[in-house]
Structures are given as C-alpha cells and as structure tokens.
C-alpha cells in the first residue's frame, strides 16, 4: 500500500473499486451471472463482520473467538422485529446494531477482565451461550432455523422498494464503505491511538491516566454492534436465520479470514474474506474434497505470508 506516498492515487483506487462493485448488479445479468450479484453481496456483508473483528484484533489486540455470536444477535433481532410488525429495513437494522452493542457491552464487561488465551476462551463461552439460547428458541424454529416471511423495505409507501435484489446490494455496498471509512478514521483518531497504546503497553497507558478498561469496552461494544449489523444484513438477504450463524466454527472462520488478509491491515479483512470465500466457491465446483486445499492454503499462509496477504502486497510495493 502506497497511501502515504500518494494519497490521491490510493483514493482514486478506492473510487474505482467502489464503482466497479457498484456496476456488478447491472453487468451480471447481461452475462447470465445473476448468481454472482448475491455472492458478492454476501462477501461484502461478511467483510463487514470481519472488519470489525480486525479492528479488535489489530488495533486493540483483542482476539475474540465469539464474534459470530454478535452476528447471530443481529440476525435474530431482525427476525424478532419483523415478527413484531416492523417493515422499515433501516429501523430494523439500526435496532439490531443497538442490540449487538448492548450484548457485546454486557459480555465484554466480564470478558475483558481476562487476557490472552483466557480472553479467547471466555468470548467463545459467551458465543456458545448465545448459540444454545438460539437453539432453545422454539418460536424461531430452534435448531432448524426460521424463515422470514414479512419482507423489509428500504423505502415504504406508494413506490416501495423492497430490501432485496440490486437495491439491497447497493445499500450493502454503501454501508460497508461507510463502516470501513469510519474504522479508518477511528484508527487515526485520539481514541484509536489510545487503543493502540493499550495494545502495546496497557500498564503504561494506565499510568498515564487512561481508563484502559473502559476504552477497551467501548471498542468491544462498537465492534459487536458492527458484527450485529452484518448479521442483520445476512438475515435480510437470506430471508432465513438459524443458530448455525453463530456456531463457534463461524467465529473461528472470521479469525481465519482476518489473519489470512492481514491482522491490523486496512485491507486485511476484505482481502481475507474475498480470498477465502472465492477459493471455497471455486473449489466446491470441482471437488467434494474442498476442505483439504483450504487447509493447505492456511498452512501456506502461515509459513509464506506470516503477516497476511495484504502485507505481502505492500512489501513488494515498498522499496
């Protein structure tokens, strides 16, 4: 990444990328590739959850193995609100995000008392609790999941636009772009610098008078909110929710994708998600034994690109 050398080139690059992504729903039908509109949309939604996790892992140094739990909170919030008669997608997504902030704030308050591997395991524990809670909700189908019949709409009234298809795609693109921008701004802000300080030396930050526990809790709750928003978008796009959204392997996959892309790197989360999901998609078309190549990819990344694929790209760019 040469953003420092020429910010305008980087900005132009981002603009081209956003424009290219925005054109996908218009171009895909021309080539009979409608399926890929949905695929790219799913990719962007997952990147949202991964970006919030990358913020926690890279900026704050918190490896959370329970992020899928918050994704599930968002998805189930959508189901509950749609069931209660809410139809505006914006209101539902907003409340789902708030629900994620609240749940992440409550669990984070306990989890942040621990460190390192113990933190990994306690976040896993809370996600497992959410998972089994969802399994026990018979109203929402328990283990089997629940189909959302009442569709949400982006704009109500006479010329209603449903939250599906290409409009949903563009909204997702805009939301992902906004959240990524916001995360980048936070990194450069006073709050972001303080978090980085905590990551590198928490005792020192405490000595300097920073309320380190509170700052970490804020970051954790915010990341939970973004993950929850991502879950709400998944629920809207699939029209279906199930506890498998918050299975612990989903949390592990989010970590895997972030690490592949590059922990703490700007493009780490989107790149990791794109590489992992595209690789999976392609392999699944050729063989039923697609796990093994993915596993070999992971091992290769660990040994050949220890700082993630985005670091590999920037090392070549740097002199």
């Amino acid at each position: 990444m040469n953003s420092k050398a020429s910010p305008w080139a980087a900005r132009a690059g981002i603009a081209v990328l956003v424009l290219a992504l925005a054109l996908v729903p218009l171009l895909a039908p021309l080539f009979d590739l409608d399926y890929y509109t949905g695929f790219v949309r799913r990719l962007m939604i997952v990147a949202l959850a991964a970006a919030s996790l990358n913020f926690l892992m890279g900026r704050v140094g918190l490896v959370a193995l329970g992020h899928a739990g918050f994704v599930g909170v968002g998805a189930y919030a959508v189901a509950a609100l749609a069931e209660a008669g809410w139809t505006s997608a914006w209101a539902v997504w907003g409340l789902a995000g708030v629900a994620g902030v609240v749940v992440a704030g409550l669990t984070g308050a306990v989890a942040l008392r621990t460190k390192g591997v113990y933190f990994i395991m306690i976040t896993l524990a809370f996600a497992q609790m959410l998972f089994y809670l969802a399994v026990s909700l018979r109203k929402y189908g328990g283990d089997d999941g629940y189909t959302l019949y009442a569709p949400l709409h982006l704009i109500g009234g006479e010329n209603a636009i449903a939250a599906s298809g290409a409009p949903l795609y563009w909204v997702v693109l805009a939301l992902v772009a906004l959240v990524l921008l916001a995360l980048w701004r936070i990194e450069a802000s006073h709050f972001g610098r303080a978090l980085e300080g905590i990551r590198d030396n928490e005792t020192r930050m405490q000595a300097m008078g920073y309320p380190t526990y509170l700052l970490k809790l804020c970051a954790f709750a915010a990341a939970g909110g973004v993950a929850s928003l991502s879950g709400a978008l998944i629920a809207t796009q699939n029209g279906f929710i199930s506890p498998s959204l918050m299975h612990w392997t989903q949390s592990a996959l989010l970590i895997v994708m972030v690490v592949i892309g590059g922990v703490g790197r700007r493009w780490g989360a989107p790149l990791g998600v794109a590489v992992w999901l595209v690789f999976e998609e392609v392999l699944k078309q050729f063989t039923e034994y697609w796990h093994a190549p993915m596993g070999l990819l992971l091992i290769a990344v660990v040994f050949l690109a220890p700082k993630g694929l985005s670091a590999l790209a920037s090392r070549k760019a740097a002199p």
Binding site: A125, A292, L298, I299
Partner: protein, 305 residues
C-alpha cells in the same frame, strides 16, 4: 428421581470427565511447555476412533484395536510434530491456531476419503456388552471399563509427572521454559516426547469413546471445545488442574443434562421447561468456565509463576 438413576448419571459424568482428561492432559502440557496451541489434537482423537473401530471390526479383538489405534496415532503425531508443529514454536498463537486449523481441515478430508462421509459403527466388545453389579446397581460394564481405564491413566500420569525424571523436566518446562533451558534441559526433545504422549492419550480416548458415541468426521472438533474449556478452567500447563477441571466439567455437563430438565419441569410451565432445560444444560459448562475466570482469571491451578 431414584437413587439408581442418580448414581448411574454420576458414574457417566465421571467417565466422560476421565475421557476429557485424556485429551486435556496432552493439550495442556503441549500448551504449557511450548506455548503452542494445537487445535489438531481433536484430529488425533478422531484418528484413534476411526483406526480402532476399523481394526476391531476386522480382527474382532478390542484390545488389539486399541493398541493399533494408539500406535498409528503416535506415529502420525511424531510425523506431524517433525514436519509442522516444530516450526510453529515461538510463533504467535494466531499463527499456531491458523496452521493447526489447516491440519484439522486436511485431516477431515483424508478421513472422508478413506472411510466415506457417513459415521461408522464402532462395536462394543462382546465381553463387555452386558451390565455388571456396581454398589448393588446394574451398570454397563463397558462404561465401567472406561472409568477404570481413565482412573489408571490418571494415576499413571500423576506418577509420571510428579515422581519421575521426565516429569520433573516437563514441570520445569511448563513453569519457566527459558530457565529450564538455561539449566541444560533440552526442552524441545522433552516436548517431542510429550507431544507423542499426548497423542497416545487422545487416541486412547478416541478408541474408548467410539463404542458409546458416534465415530464421525466432526468428532474431533466436537470434543476439542470441552477439552479447551477444561484446560482453561484448570489453568494452562497444569495436569492437576486439568484433572480436577475434567471431572468438574464431566459431572456438570452430564448432571446438567440428566437432572436439570426434570427439576425445571417441577418449577416451570412444561412448555417453557422443555425449551429452557436443554439450553441451560448445554450452557452449564460455559457458565462454569466464565464463573471460574471471573474469580480466577488464570484458572484454578495456574502452572506459570
């Protein structure tokens, strides 16, 4: 709730606890000594289960099956350690998690290739298929064997870790690796031995668990989480902690599943109890862990000083 049912569940809980201990002992030592988090430990458990079930079905001898399973798994583990895990020492935990998760994915596909995607049957040895009298109650003789084997291994491990030269080196490595190295201990060689020992225990657990639970591709991942919960509750690197925590988790999990739903039916509306009961009993283990970590953030018996 009668006494027979109560005692039976307690014994089942202890049996599950011992099996968890077989896995957790290896996991906690590998983690404690080399600071290496090995997710592929569950795959070694799976290897033990599959090899044992196959050899048992082919040869008819359960003892031979268990021995072959342990042997094959140890060979695989030694190979794995030399080729891959050894290169992960000193790397950060995330790299270790990533690489060993990669091994898990590869192992699952290899098993799928060799044995097919559906679970396979692991027969109960004919000699042990009937019940025995235990404290005047009928109890599955196979489950009794599990209890006995678990107890024997735990005792053997206790002697090995606390009263042998190797055990001394292991404990020294777990509490302070750098210092042990300065004192002339070749910690990496000790570690290879411990890794192989851990694999043997995991394979034994897999072979013994086969007949009472399914031998399937997900079995390694399914037991990995409770095993991790155990080592975290016990304190990473501590065999004693792993032992106490295994029995705790085994009892809490089994007792939760057996006793909680009927108890809840007494106090709650039937429909609500049917919903809440299974959820709470599945969660019980995690509540235990969260509770322990709130009061003791490094587990019950932290090995590092």
């Amino acid at each position: 709730m009668d006494l027979t049912f109560f005692l039976e569940q307690i014994f089942n809980g202890l049996g599950y606890g011992f099996m968890l201990f077989l896995l957790a002992a290896g996991l906690t030592l590998v983690f404690g000594i080399m600071d290496t988090l090995n997710l592929a430990h569950g795959s070694l458990f799976m290897a033990g289960g599959y090899v044992s079930a196959t050899v048992h079905a082919q040869s008819g001898s359960f003892l031979a099956a268990v021995l072959v399973a342990v042997l094959v798994t140890v060979l695989l583990a030694v190979l794995l350690e030399a080729l891959l895990v050894r290169r992960l020492y000193g790397r950060d935990h995330l790299s270790q998690v990533l690489a060993t998760f990669g091994i898990v994915l590869v192992a699952d596909d290899v098993v799928k290739f060799l044995w097919g995607p559906s679970p396979i049957m692991a027969p109960t040895p004919a000699l042990l298929s009937g019940p025995v009298q235990l404290l005047g109650l009928p109890y599955s003789s196979y489950r009794l064997l599990i209890l006995g084997a678990g107890l024997a291994v735990a005792a053997g491990l206790y002697v090995l870790v606390n009263h042998s030269r190797l055990g001394m080196l292991v404990r020294a490595g777990a509490s302070n690796r750098a210092m042990a190295e300065f004192m002339g201990v070749r910690v990496s060689r000790v570690f290879t031995i411990v890794f192989a020992l851990g694999a043997a225990l995991a394979a034994l657990a897999g072979a013994l668990m086969g007949p009472i639970s399914a031998v399937s591709i997900g079995m390694g991942e399914a037991i990995l989480i409770p095993a991790l919960v155990v080592i975290v509750i016990g304190g990473i690197g501590s065999v004693r902690g792993a032992f106490v925590a295994s029995l705790l988790v085994g009892l809490v999990d089994t007792a939760g599943r057996a006793f909680l739903p009927p108890l809840l039916r007494e106090v709650l509306a039937p429909a609500l109890a049917a919903d809440v009961g299974p959820a709470i009993s599945s969660i019980a283990m995690y509540m235990l862990m969260a509770g322990v970590l709130v009061f003791k953030p490094s587990g019950l018996f932290p090995a590092r000083v």
